[in-house]
Amino acid sequence: MLKIENLTKIFNDKIILDNISLQAEKGDIAVLLGPSGTGKSTLLRILNNLEKPNAGTIYFNNKKINIETVNRTHLIGMVFQQFNLFEHLTVEQNVTLVLEKVIKKNNKNAKKIALDLLKHYGLADKAQKFVSQLSGGQKQRLAIARTMAVKPKIICLDEPTSALDPLLTTHVANNIQSLADEGHIVLVATHDTSLLERLNCTIYLMGKGNITESATSVEFFKNKKAYPLIDTFVSGHIED
């Protein structure tokens, strides 16, 4: 179980995250929904030690996590909006470099594990291609495969659909759902409301650094009127 308690982030006198708390169980998808500038990406970045919080505590299975060393423990992984793949390497090398240098697998094992991962994400035939030769959807799947190489228990996805063709949303949603079904805790920061109906998730609507309303996707779609803030955001986006 992931538990975030009273997380606060102030940047240049501006409150980005205001004493925010939330928790998620194994197999859960927590969707941080909201317009840009509401701190949802910042929350994910803090969990991955890319930003330092001003206050707050994070627990995993009731044990306090030291965020400053979290990257070495491979507890949390991140799939970036722009994927941030290693552009000088082939698809396979993007995964094997992690396995060899970080997980310390020997070359032969690394190749085998990498190929299995690439197969799982439908990239086996692209193994020897360079990153620049992949489509957006393939890049994202590679980013997920690379993240999975370190076997994180918590996976963060920052705006997973915004750099992709809208037609791919269903594929992205399927990938996210399978991560949760495989037993990971999944956190998604997004403003893309079309993801919601495709995921079995908990929606956390963010506004001005805090959660203004939350509901499971099932509850929300059963009775939208009970969640006026989420409903406004969702319908507002549909009219866009």
Binding site: M78, F80, N84, H88, V102, A149
Partner: protein, 219 residues
């Protein structure tokens, strides 16, 4: 007119000189690259004090003529107890000078690597050292191969300045032969052609390297 017979007679000596020129260029290039990578990394790093030191270093070595630097190293350093053979004085001085230029080239290469890749590496658990070695530098160097190539070509030509501090390299050999034969046209044509041969060979090799390492951006 060029005296071909004199040219052919002088060729073995000129080529011997050229060999020394190549040694100077190659060794100072090694110093330049090693130093340039270290200084470039330091200047792209977080330590402000070290960044200022590198800044001063670069300002001095880029802001003064190499001829003056060589003369300084050859005549002034021995007075404070630092003596090196002329050959090594030339290599070290040209190397230190080149390091200043290479550091700025490397720095621009480092800037060209997206910050996102470094964040991805951090999140995946790469150490800072590993990130530099496997992600930052390979890409930084790739982007600056053309600029580094120019720097190496400049080094070959700059090695001729070693002649001013008594190193018997190609230019010095040429000067010596000219001073006994008084045929400047023939000798300096020969000297110039040998430099041209060396720099164009280098250009050719650099172009090959460029082509090979740009594979990852092909579509």
């Amino acid at each position: 007119m060029v005296d071909y017979q004199l040219l052919i007679r002088s060729l073995p000596k000129l080529l011997q000189g050229a060999l020394v020129s190549i040694q100077i260029a190659a060794l100072s290039c090694t110093i330049g690259i090693t130093l340039g990578i270290i200084l470039g990394l330091v200047q792209s790093g977080k330590n402000k004090f070290l960044r200022i030191l590198v800044g001063i270093y670069v300002t001095i070595f880029r802001g003064t003529p190499m001829l003056i630097q060589l003369t300084f190293a050859f005549f002034v350093l021995p007075e404070i107890g630092i003596t090196l053979p002329a050959f090594w004085t030339a290599i070290v001085t040209i190397g230190l000078n080149s390091g200043a230029y290479v550091s700025q080239i490397i720095r621009s290469g480092i800037k060209s690597v997206s910050k996102g890749q470094l964040e991805a590496a951090q999140v995946l658990g790469f150490s800072k050292m590993q990130t530099t070695r496997y992600i930052l530098l390979p890409q930084a160097i790739r982007t600056v191969v053309p600029a580094l190539g120019n720097e190496f070509i400049t080094l070959v030509k700059d090695s001729s300045l070693a002649s001013t501090i008594t190193v018997i390299e190609l230019t010095k050999v040429g000067q010596r032969i000219q001073s006994t034969t008084f045929d400047a046209l023939t000798i300096y044509t020969g000297v110039a052609l040998i430099y041209l041969l060396m720099t164009s060979t280098l250009s050719f090799v650099i172009a090959k390297v460029e082509k090979r390492i740009s594979k990852h951006v092909e579509n």
